[in-house]
Assembly symmetry: none
Homo-oligomer: 139 residues x 2
DNA sequence: TAAAATCCCATTGACGCCCAATTTTGCCCA
DNA sequence: TGGGCAAAATTGGGCGTCAATGGGATTTTA
């Protein structure tokens, strides 16, 4: 699901994702840096709360939990779509995800991500390779 | 079972495969990139759900689970056939399977695959050759 | 006041839905 | 066994709708 960034730095988010958002009655999008990938995650407030709860369950002194908390709270901004369902690709998004003129959307249940296209395929290829090696070893 | 892609980028799914789908009462097709072959696999939504359940068993923040999720969610889309049982060959399918104007259908039990014709024969040849070598060694 | 963000409108293009023409298939009968 | 026929499957294309795109105008903000 790859889209072009237009001359004004906008991408229209595919209607598939928008319908999910409208169904959940989500106006403000929380846009934050993904925990494990060089990608931008976009979700409604309630997903955010879920992440927070999950983090709270862990050891509050653990580096990981602290980093995640930092990413969620410090590495995120609220944004909204324009009248045509487009999202402005800010430097915040651009820099972290390495996005230039193309964005691929990845739905992940109740939230979705923005990827620089080749970064996504690289990650997927890597994962497939790992799976192959695993299955070979287990033979 | 090779079919031509028409001028509008559609292929009619052979009735053999469609009857399987109708028997299982499948409307929405989960179309995803195969894990090991350069082919597109097509199944019902329950396959995606199975994948998701598998992922849910692990820690949702672990790198492994996230990678699998990426493979599943980023490598699959939902589609449906038109009234005449045709499937639109999107860029998503085209690019991953290397399909241009011909598609070979391969049934695999409860799902089926789309291949670029020559890619399939190449893969088959390779597999045959490997088997030959094996049997020679074991003689 | 310039630059950027927001709003608004026009055009394009993709897709769903429909119908018609043609081909293939399965089956019956001579 | 070979036609002939009807039903099913495939193919081609028209058309309307809506998402996607591009760009202008207006407001906001630094």
């Amino acid at each position: 699901m790859t889209k072009k960034v237009d001359a004004k730095g906008r991408v229209s988010v595919p209607s598939v994702f928008r319908t999910v958002l409208t169904r959940l009655d989500i106006q403000d999008l929380y846009v934050f840096q993904d925990f494990v990938f060089p990608a931008i995650s976009i979700a409604g407030p309630e997903v955010l709360e879920r992440f927070e709860r999950h983090i709270d369950q862990g050891d509050p002194f653990s580096p990981d939990a602290n980093k995640m908390s930092l990413l969620i709270h410090g590495g995120g901004v609220f944004m909204k779509l324009d009248g045509e369902g487009r999202l402005a690709i800010s430097d915040f998004i651009r820099d972290f995800a390495g996005i230039t003129d193309q964005v691929t959307f990845v739905g992940r249940g109740d939230y979705f991500q923005l990827w620089e296209p080749s970064a996504l395929t690289r990650m997927q290829d890597e994962t497939r390779r790992e799976r192959m090696e695993q299955s070979v070893r287990s033979t």
